[in-house]
């Protein structure tokens, strides 16, 4: 890698840039230029969905909890277990976010927090966009328990799931149409899934997750398609047990994993399944080889996430760091 240092040594700051900086500091000393944040256009229907948005949370007992416009955040929701996996989405309304919290004390590391009963409003610093709250730490305490949530700003959209309910989930780069900025909260202990196809960062846009309208009516795609070369290794997204290895003419060769707490994942269209029913696997273990079996027009992994049997948008289960590397195409 000494070559990397050599390669990089040929990159130099253009003199024009230095002149610009010096010119700026001479005119307004000490003032940093303001950066524009990306805002996607939001269609009316999506805006409505975001305001009324319902979010499915994953509780430790495996009970999916549908939350409507009251986004619940607090120690009582966590019960006594501080290693929660909740990811809560907050649409941005009137330039701020609102949530319900039951805690004795709640502080935010930036922005302005106001409270009315158990409803909190967090506004960014005057003149800043709500997305500037990205990175804010919300600290909640109740008695001996303390939990810290970190806010991340991302573009999200409402997806219609199998039961017809609208659910917010983040969108990938390449699929931002109709998305709007939201903030979501996760704890430092939040567990996210590992990406099941190493080396492949594309998610099919033409056959994305959710309901799509066709001349024949609504078609629901229960997972995401990750295109890759035949034979590429497919790895377990989380540790768990192999519950089913099978074949049918839609899914081709498929394997399902149970991760506990009602969370299951399914890997379909495989060329070959390498794991056996009953095997215990760790996240990252190879469980299958990618293929194009079943109803498939090209080699890809069909990847599904379910909570207690209810189909979810898999994209929401990866961390922002992983989503940053993905593209919808």
């Amino acid at each position: 890698m000494y070559d990397y240092k050599e390669a990089v040594s040929h990159i130099h700051v253009p003199q024009r840039l230095n002149r610009q900086v010096l010119a700026a500091c001479e005119s307004v000393p000490g003032k940093a230029p303001r950066r524009a944040f990306f805002r996607a256009a939001v269609c009316t229907a999506c805006a409505l969905a975001l305001v009324l948005g319902s979010v499915t949370l994953r509780s430790p007992e495996g009970q999916p909890t549908a939350v409507t416009s009251d986004y619940h955040l607090g120690i009582t929701a966590l019960a006594a277990d501080l290693t929660e996996n909740h990811t809560l989405f907050f649409p941005i309304e009137d330039g701020a976010i609102r949530f319900r919290a039951s805690a004795q004390s709640l502080t935010a590391s930036q922005g302005t927090l106001s409270q009315e009963g158990d409803i909190y409003t967090l506004s960014p610093t005057v003149g800043q966009a709500p997305e500037s709250l990205d990175g804010t730490a919300l600290t909640l305490s109740a008695g001996e328990q303390t939990e810290v949530y970190f806010l991340t700003a991302e573009n999200a959209r409402a997806f219609v799931n199998e039961s017809g309910r609208e659910v917010l989930a983040p969108v990938l780069s390449g699929d931002e149409q109709g998305a709007a900025p939201v903030l979501y909260a996760a704890t430092s202990e939040s567990r996210f899934l590992s990406w099941p196809v190493a080396g492949s960062n594309t998610v099919s846009l033409s056959n994305s997750y959710g309901t799509r309208q066709t001349p024949q009516g609504g078609v629901f795609h229960s997972g995401i398609d990750i295109p890759a070369q035949r034979g590429v290794e497919i790895t377990a997204a989380e540790s768990g047990t192999v519950t089913q290895v099978g074949w049918n003419d839609t899914l081709g060769f498929y394997v399902t994993l149970d991760h506990g707490g009602g969370l299951t994942t399914l890997y379909g269209q495989c060329q070959e399944i390498l794991a056996g029913e009953g095997n215990a696997v760790e996240a990252g273990d190879v469980i299958a080889l990618l293929g194009s079996t079943g109803m498939s027009t090209g080699p890809h992994l069909h990847f599904e996430v379910r909570e207690n049997g209810e189909v979810q948008n898999p994209v929401a289960y990866f961390s922002a760091d992983i989503r940053d590397t993905l593209r919808a195409k």
């Binding site: 990397y4 040929h10 990159i11 130099h12 700051v13 990205d134």
Partner: protein, 159 residues
Amino acid sequence: MTSQQLRAAMERHGDTVYRLALCRLQNIADAEDVYQDVFLRLLGQNCEHWDDEHTKAWLIRTTVNRCADVGRLRIRRSAVPLERLTELPAPPRSQAAALWAAVGSLPPKFRTVVHLHYAEGYSTEEIAAMLHIPSATVRTRLHRGREKLKRILGGDEDV
């Protein structure tokens, strides 16, 4: 800090900031934006008694933070190839370009650590101190970054 001192700082550390921003953001316009932001912030610092190493560490930390702010919300653009950044004549420096592209394809946090270690020569402890993250985290990211690079670049090259 006077504009004279700022000019000196840019001469000494400008390339460091610029290269780090380019590696992290893979976009010239964004990197230039961050570059200006970082040095204008330096102007506002009370750095009379800072030595060279302290200034450089402050610049690197600030660059990483500003890149994180910009990177998250931008539409991800395609990587910027090395040929667009250097004024070297043809033939194309294919190995250098492949290295730059490989590092640029790593996840952002791995990219930062790999770049600081190999391009700037910082140890894992120094990187940990600069970025205020645990040494173990730096070591893990460096290790995993190297593993990914090995896979991308192929072969048994000792990276």
